[in-house]
């Protein structure tokens, strides 16, 4: 049977499957459905300094092979996450977890990462830079190499934990952003976040979600994600967590061949809650049938 263990820096994961931030809460809902300790890890809901309701509802729209969400980082705030969610999480999940952090200013990122730095059981801090910078007219941090590097440096200055910068695909050159993050000291890159999308209700002649636009994700975006992981792999030496539209064990292999060391599964958890255990179950057999002995052998295999 193939060995499906993988590595992110010094951290060895039992398998490359990681539910993506925002689609797995803090693990509680899924812990009722299956033993979540079979996962490689999971990335918890994007956490900000202050509690947030998020955007007005409706904030979910269905699209072909995917969905738009404008949840808007609804979360209880870092203090409640640390005081309330993390202790509960440790009760149900025995492996290191990925802490997904968001902010609307450099200080906010720093504040959250400083707090998380003191916590045990965190494998990686995954810094979501798709959020708008309130001090720069709302332009997302992740859309300029300078701003992305600034967040990276700020976060690295307050934590010893591995920092993975989570990139937005809504940029002219994802490679430039990834390189800027690496140069600023990032330990890894996670990509992609959702694509900015829109769905219009043709009967009401209005966008479906109250916020008009939202993040598009699900199987429809998979080829875009594979392409971006492939490009970033050529440009950086640090490990990559690949995500975007992953829906099967085949997709996981494809994403890893593009250059991902581990793979996150997002929207599919919402519609098929058993998707991650299913993929983990199928992965060794699929590897065998493809002649893969160690799954780490295929990381970046599509590059020649």
């Amino acid at each position: 049977m193939a060995d499906i263990r993988t590595r992110l820096g010094d951290w060895t994961l039992d398998n490359p499957i990681i539910p993506a931030s925002g689609t797995f809460g803090f693990g509680q809902e899924f812990a009722k459905l299956y033993d979540i300790n079979i996962l490689g890890s999971f990335s918890f809901k994007g956490t900000t300094k202050e509690p947030r309701f998020g955007n007005p509802t409706p904030r979910i729209a269905e699209c072909t092979a995917g969905m738009i969400n404008s949840v808007g980082l609804a979360n209880p705030g870092i203090d409640k996450v640390i005081a309330g969610e993390l202790p509960k999480l440790r009760g149900i999940f025995k492996k290191p977890v990925i802490a997904n952090i968001s902010g609307f200013s450099i200080d906010e990122y720093k504040y959250c990462c400083e707090r998380i730095d003191k916590e045990d059981g965190i494998g990686i801090i995954e810094v979501n830079i798709s959020c708008p910078n309130v001090h720069a007219g709302g332009m997302a941090f992740g859309t300029s190499p300078e701003a992305a590097a600034e967040v990276t440096r700020a976060v690295k200055s307050v934590t010893h934990k591995p920092v993975y910068m989570k990139l937005s695909p809504n940029v002219a050159s994802i490679v430039d952003i990834a390189k800027a993050c690496e140069a600023a000291g990032a330990d890894g890159i996670a990509l992609i976040n959702t694509l900015l999308g829109m769905k219009i209700d043709i009967k009401r002649r209005k966008p479906v979600v109250a916020n008009k636009m939202g993040g598009f994700s699900g199987p429809a975006i998979f080829p875009v994600a594979v392409r971006m992981v492939y490009q970033v792999y050529e440009a950086v030496k640090i490990p990559i967590i690949g995500m975007g539209g992953v829906a099967s064990a085949e997709d996981v292999i494809e994403m890893m061949m593009a250059g991902a060391s581990a793979v996150e599964v997002g929207a599919m958890n919402l519609t098929e809650p058993g998707i991650c255990p299913k993929i983990i179950g199928e992965l060794p057999g699929l590897c065998d049938s493809l002649g893969i002995e160690n799954i780490t052998d295929i990381i970046g295999a599509a590059h020649c």
Binding site: G22, E62, A267, P273, P277
Partner: protein, 278 residues
């Protein structure tokens, strides 16, 4: 996936799928209903070709018994492509259903004679609730609101609950529970002309009410009840666009008097005092 995923996801077999009013269908499915425990819960139905599941209230259900599967009744209106596809499904079709979702009505809070209000496709869960109450020996007043005569459904089934006691209830030496149905249509073709709120003054007494229907109806009803029966407490079933239906995506948040809640897991049923407080 069997053995890994718990009983939330079940495969149901469609045994009936028939029109009962204009664009409204009754689907009867067989499968493991054991996760459905209270009226007002919902299920999330996977349809081929659609990314998101479709949330539909449990109208009625039987529990699996002595090796027999349970039966689940859903009543749905065709309003878009998903429900249209559902209406075309044939008997024998197998459907993946996330079952027993949400927090339903509190049957134990009913008081002596609760009022049940259903508006349009908000009516189905009120039927399951009425049945539970009658089985417990409790009389109910039911106000149903539809637009026109051709939209009306379930009114006869509510009336028929008057006979349920004969078969279903033991141990109530007292009076047979009564179900009094007040039907309203906006067009006035059948029942009383007007809205559900117009019928509220006809109810003799009320300390507890339950409702499901469009948001404007729920808001108007809450106001009308506060005016007519100031001491009555209510439970309202809300609707929101859902990404998952089981608490994972925070897509379905609603602001309540006691903070932000998820319609799918904290609701869909909320105390009336907690919602529409603006």
């Amino acid at each position: 996936m069997n053995g890994v995923i718990n009983d939330m996801e079940q495969i149901f077999t469609l045994t009936k799928n028939t029109p009962i009013a204009k664009d409204v269908y009754r689907a009867v499915l067989r499968g493991d209903t054991s996760r459905i425990t209270v009226p007002g819960q919902f299920v999330n139905v996977k349809l081929d070709g659609f990314f998101l599941r479709r949330p539909i209230s449990v109208c009625d259900w039987t529990i699996p018994f002595m090796g027999d599967e349970g039966e689940l009744t859903l009543i749905y209106k065709v309003v878009g492509k998903g429900t249209d596809a559902m209406s075309r499904l044939k008997e024998g079709a197998e459907l993946s259903v996330l079952t027993g979702l949400g927090h339903g009505f509190d049957v134990s809070a009913s008081g002596k004679r609760p009022l049940l209000v259903g508006g349009g496709v908000g009516t189905p869960p009120m039927y399951g609730l009425a049945k539970k109450l009658v089985r417990a020996g409790i009389s109910v007043d039911v106000i149903l609101g539809f637009n026109t005569a051709e939209d009306v459904f379930l009114a006869d089934e509510f009336e028929a609950l008057n006979d349920l006691y004969e078969f279903g209830c033991e141990g109530f030496e007292g009076k047979k529970p009564e179900v009094r149905v007040y039907l309203t249509t906006v067009s006035g073709e059948t029942g009383t002309k007007g809205f559900v709120t117009d019928c509220v003054p006809k109810i003799g007494e009320c300390t507890h009410y339950y409702a499901c229907g469009p948001i404007p109806m729920l808001k108007a009803l809450k106001a009308k009840m506060a005016e007519t029966f100031p001491d009555a407490e209510g439970e309202l079933s809300l609707e929101e666009r859902m990404g998952c239906g089981f608490g994972a995506c925070v897509g379905c948040s609603v602001e309540t008097a006691s903070g932000f809640k998820k319609v799918c897991t904290d609701g869909p049923v909320f105390p009336a005092a907690e919602v529409f407080c603006e």
